[in-house]
């Protein structure tokens, strides 16, 4: 088997704090270049794998949060759009809303140009319907963009996990192979 001149081929060294996995072209040259023995190399890769797993959990939690936030923003946009549509008609909008779990009350919502938006941190601001729609749209776009970046991060991370998961048995097998070869030579010399 021809061994390549460099034993590490990485196109990206890291992505947003996530180190790229070392790809080993040739186990022998990797071990001599890094001057690691087999067990240290294996331990290093195992530890890397653990670190990747921790980051994966964190990213997946962030992904779940964003995935819950997006439909919420879409619902708000729906309500504001409905209020705006009702404006010209002159009829008040009647709605049943939840006061407490299982308990609903009726509300009459007159024509209005203003809505209040909950901004978080116990803050609620009044906006005109148009401003509210613009703000909600912007939040929705930001959330979707963040989600896209997050998904790309996760993909990158999972690639690094796969690379490491392949490297570990390769080094292990190379070691087994070496031991068998040494044994064969030893028994020949007897």
């Amino acid at each position: 088997m021809a061994s390549s001149s460099s034993s590490e081929v990485t196109t990206v060294t890291e992505r947003r704090g996530i180190p790229a996995a070392v790809f080993v072209d040739d186990v022998q040259s990797y071990l001599s270049q890094s001057s690691l023995d087999v067990n240290s190399a294996l331990a290093f890769f195992q530890e890397r794998l653990q670190q990747y797993r921790v980051v994966e959990m964190k990213l997946m939690a962030q992904q779940r949060d964003l995935q819950a936030k997006i439909p919420d923003i879409e619902k708000c946009l729906d309500v504001v759009a409905t209020l705006q549509a009702k404006k010209g008609i002159g009829e008040a909008l009647q709605a049943d809303f939840e006061v407490s779990e299982g308990i609903y009350s009726r509300a009459r919502i007159e024509d209005t140009d203003f809505v209040c938006l909950w901004l978080g941190a116990n803050v609620m601001l009044e906006y005109s319907c148009d401003e509210a729609t613009t703000l909600l749209q912007k939040n929705l776009e930001n959330a979707k963009a963040s989600l896209e970046v997050l998904v790309a991060d996760l993909q990158f991370l999972r690639d690094q996990v796969t690379i490491t998961q392949v490297t570990i048995p390769r080094i292990y097998n190379w070691d087994v192979h070496q031991r068998r070869a040494r044994q064969a030579v030893a028994t020949e010399e007897l």
């Binding site: 072209d25 909008l93 709605a95 048995p169």
Partner: protein
């Protein structure tokens, strides 16, 4: 989750092989995500179907239709057209998801051929 493990000691893994393995892993993840999304879309479709039937059967002129977190009093015809719109939307989404799933299945089969071709028994690409 499928794991790509190379247990052979003779075949070397090139960067291209590694990228194929990575791609297979990514496609497999996306495949499972799609299965979940398709299941949810089908459920939504069924719910809309049930809702639509209920609305047709009801005698009331006003139906409480959920908008956001509240149930607005909406005239029956408007509810019917809204539900129809939602059904069209979900059907389109479902169609797109099914298409993506099909193309992923094809791609994964291709990669399996390539990887099994090179690594034979040294690699396992099946679901455990």
């Amino acid at each position: 989750m499928q794991q790509a493990g190379a247990s052979g000691s003779d075949t070397e893994v090139t960067w291209e092989d590694q990228q194929n393995i990575n791609k297979f892993g990514r496609l497999n993840n996306r495949f499972h995500e799609l299965e979940d999304e398709i299941k949810m879309a089908k459920e939504t479709n069924d719910n809309l179907e049930v809702a639509s039937n209920e609305v047709i059967l009801t005698d009331d002129d006003i139906v409480r239709f959920q908008i956001g977190e509240v149930f607005a009093h909406v005239p029956k015809e408007e509810v019917e057209s809204r539900i129809e719109e939602m059904q069209e939307g979900t059907s389109k989404i479902l169609e797109k998801l099914e298409e993506e799933k099909e193309s992923i299945i094809v791609e994964m089969a291709e990669l399996k051929k390539i990887l099994y071709g090179k690594f034979k028994d040294s690699i396992n690409l099946e679901e455990d």
